[in-house]
Symmetry: C2
Subunit: 184 residues, 2 copies
Amino acid sequence: MVWRVPDNDNRPRHICAVCGTVFYDNPKIVAGCIPVWEEQILLCKRAIEPRYGLWTLPAGFMENGETASEAAARETWEEAVTQVDISDLFVVFNLPQINQVYMMFLANLSTCDFSPGDESLECKLYYENEIPWPELAFPTITHTLKFYFRDRDGGAFKFRSADIVREKGESLLFHRRSIPEVVT
Amino acid sequence: MVWRVPDNDNRPRHICAVCGTVFYDNPKIVAGCIPVWEEQILLCKRAIEPRYGLWTLPAGFMENGETASEAAARETWEEAVTQVDISDLFVVFNLPQINQVYMMFLANLSTCDFSPGDESLECKLYYENEIPWPELAFPTITHTLKFYFRDRDGGAFKFRSADIVREKGESLLFHRRSIPEVVT
């Protein structure tokens, strides 16, 4: 494997030294959802690194052949062994420092049967006042839930897109990272 | 390079036979925009395959280290040598058969100076009634422009997400491909 600029390109890529195949490494989509059952949200306690033992919404890397909503439903099945009706796309978060784009959907649990999949230690329904905020796995999950509860209180869900940037050990949320306005 | 299921995974991946590096191939994001100047839209005539000689909105593969809106602005620079003010995310299209997710933004040209970049034969501003509909390069571009003009006529732009699926030689637009309702 070599690292050089292919013909007709403008940046270096991984190229197989034997067969010449170029392996493009581009941002990956993490697709997930907010599974709701009677005002409660289903969270999963992670059985894998990173953030082993912390709580997350079901989400994971979108695979080839899927749509983003199909990926969100598959990840919910893999992490919580339950079916969801995926509804509208709710938030898109760019995480340029780790080359990820989160796409989180509104969703309803089809039943209240669920159980931890291979990647979860435990799955549990939480009312808003029970959410374990300090034990959430990722800033993307915290912000998704904050936007969700804010919109639910306001009576209407509104699509949002934002950038999450890590600066001096803190994760900051911007409408756009080039514009110095932090979303609160 | 071999093709097998890595440890702790559930599907085959490209793995370097020498060093064991796993190369994940996931859906790629194509980021672009609708560059507007005084009611006109900037289109670029493609100087590259696929669809050499047909017209497109500036768009291309998002690269590591970027946000989607930064990628859209960079692609506009590369294809039309002009700066845009990127505004809201307007449409997300899933293309599961070719492993792409389009993210198209509303945008305004900062100036009306532009010229064809390396990937364009020509760049031109079009009023709605001049758009060369039969010569647009991709269904994603056609649908983006249709949604744009519909919302502009209606006085408000509304975020949309949809799936574009190829069936019997035709590209069909669905709210969700699992739901048999075609978006018109």
